[in-house]
């Protein structure tokens, strides 16, 4: 088993705690090989430390290392969904866009003669009806 020599900056207590936490996360989420897990964790801690300023200390520092370490892990291929073929079996195959229909043309046309004729016709019908009733 190879030995990973840690720089002095990684050796403080906060980093040790963060490393432990990230190791647990990495092992639980897809990296089965112990050596690989240690190496991945080391890379994540290193990547995280680049994001954190020296002002962040104590518990916040540990938490920040884990936070950026997890974020760094999510960008690695191990964390992606592998069965992509299952998700995208239907390729995009565009058809013609839906043709929008016009529902407001033509505008209402007011034709007085139509209404006058309709009124006269109605009167005729009633007149005939009244006449037929009398006959009855």
């Amino acid at each position: 088993m190879s030995t990973v020599i840690e720089p002095q900056s990684l050796a403080d207590a906060q980093v040790v705690l963060a490393r432990r936490a990230l190791l647990r996360y990495v092992v639980a989420n897809g990296v089965d090989d112990p050596e690989q897990a240690v190496q991945t964790t080391h890379e994540l801690v290193e990547a995280a430390l680049h994001q954190i300023s020296d002002d962040v200390v104590g518990r916040d520092r540990t938490r920040s290392i884990i936070y950026f370490g997890v974020q760094a892990y999510l960008k690695r291929p191990e964390s992606r969904f592998h069965d992509l073929e299952r998700l995208f079996a239907v390729p995009n195959e565009a058809t013609a866009p839906m043709r929008l229909q016009d529902l407001h043309e033509p505008p209402i046309v007011v034709r007085p003669e139509f209404y006058v004729a309709a009124w006269r016709r109605t009167q005729d019908v009633f007149r005939q009806f009244a006449y037929s009733m009398r006959m009855f």
């Binding site: 989420n29 936070y67 974020q71 998700l87 058809t95 866009p97 043709r99």
Partner: protein, 686 residues
Amino acid sequence: MGRARKTFNWGRETQVAVEPSKSKNMILRAVKSVAQNHPKASIMSIALAVCGLMSWLFLDIAAADGGLGPIDAVTGTFFVLLTGWLGYGIGMSIVGHLLPPPEPLSTEPLSPEELAQLPSTAILVPVYNESPRRVAAGVRAMREELAKIGGGETFEFFLLSDTTNPDIAAEEEAVWLEMTSDSLKPSVFYRRRPKNIARKSGNIAEFCERWGGRYRYLIVLDADSLMSGATLVEMVRRMEQDERVALIQVPPRPINGASLLARAQQFAAATYGSGFLRGYRHWCGDAANYWGHNAIIRTRAFVQCCGLPTLPGERPMGGEILSHDFVEAALLRRADWKVRIADDLGGSYEETPGSVLDYLQRDQRWCQGNLQHLNFLVRCQLPLTNRWHLLCGAFSYLASPLWLAFVVLQLTLLLSVSSSGATSLGISAASASLLLLVGTLILLMAPKVLAVTDFIRSTPIENRRPARAIWLDAALETVASTLFAPLLMWFHSQFVIATLRGRRVEWNAQNRGDVNLTWEDAWAVGWKLVVLGSIAAVLIWLVNPTALLWFSPLLASWLGAAPLILVLSSPQLGRWLQSHGRLLIAEESNPCPVMQRQQAYFDLPVPSEDATLERLVRDPHAMAAHIAIAQLSADPLSNLPVSELALSEMTLDQRRELLVDADKLHQAHAAYWSERLLQDVEARAR
């Protein structure tokens, strides 16, 4: 071919050949002959006869007190409109029952090879915040049916999600991943729109633009739809037979009802529905309507004709078209496509709202949508039959305020005028009023009596319950619907007035499961009716106690509004009735295979841990799947700062944003795990 032709059932529908009537009654034969040869004229004649006779009697009574006054004239106008509407429904039902039942389907099922020759068809299941497991149960049942008969290569399912609730969206993905873990065909695809622009019509339109070119036909379902495999295949085959048919609507039959209301409705649809639908088919011909789901559509025609514009003006009358289905049918007809209704096909089901409140919520949406259709009656070129469909849709809600106004005017007349005058029939106005009441009751009951008689006569005895049980259930349904009608009149009137005043309603997901209302819920909705009913009852009692008979159904419903709402909505009462053999339908006593499969999925134990947004954020595998499904891309250079906001403290909008932003999801995931892991290692260190 050399193969024997045989008859088979489509789903659970039992198509029964009915012997031609051997009755010697010449009059009945003549009537049937007229109805068969001139169905439209017969329907109109019955409607006009009912309207004319009732209106004449009504005006005669009104004029008995010394001529028609202004209130009489207004009341008379309302009465003419309402009895015309009533007569139209009665005419449709009577003519439908006089028409011969559809021929038994004598085609044989297609072989898997023949099925594979059918054009590719997409089955669309639009969902909007519905229970994913409930939707999946139906989809799985249909998928298994299609796989069994060999339709795996012809059909493909699409779950088209417009879900806005992040937890439900997360569960939809989990359910879909679970559903597609096998390699079964037909395939099921899932797509979610982050913004549900133009609601269901926009959902379908988006599908057409992205994938429509792959499919000759679309079968549009609802989240609660269920169709048998044989029916799905037959729909495609019928579309293939006539290339001018753009849409075939298969009337869905309500099932799975638990409450008394839902059970009464599904009993009514199963028992009275067939004759009415037959009459409706003959009335419409090739200009039938589209009901929004359980229908097959020719993609090309739909894409060419059914792009819906946004209407000018403010909602609810303007803006997006809310009830798109009627308008789409009209647009297809305008372009000379045929739209048909296949009432002879069974195997088409849907669920109805369980509680009265859910029912009213749905009706409020439909009311707005249907009143919006009034826009199209005069303002655009549409075929006459489709204008009629649109008018009927709107009038089904407008009739309620008319009834209410009519009742109020009648009360006014009752308080101000005595009914001692004589009518032209030579009887007193009071006696003529009783005659009118009896006539109205006969007219209301006649279609039901006809339907039940027809149902009992046309269903072989081995496929149905004893006639006495069916009559008893019909009586129970009649009591329930008679008491429910005055409630609907009141609430529909409120919806119409609210719509005309410009008040909008949200189109929320419909609850079809069990709902246990409380007294507070029922009282909050019904107290106004109790007050109004009490005032009306006292006034009538003081002025004319005998008139209480006239108003008794209305007063009983209004005075007992709160308990009535509770009773109608109660799933316990519905199940109790079911266990005692009441309001049973054939689908319950002998469920078809697709219903059995669906029920088996309903009965599966619910996973101990719900798939929610919390789980999606916590579980890296679920999150990775979500990012892949939603086709999100994370910025490789982004390093969002440590989030101090816990998921439980986020607003709904922030939670929705998470679902469409991979970087923010990563941030939330890292924030959760950094806190959790830190606590964990600290505890171990101690």
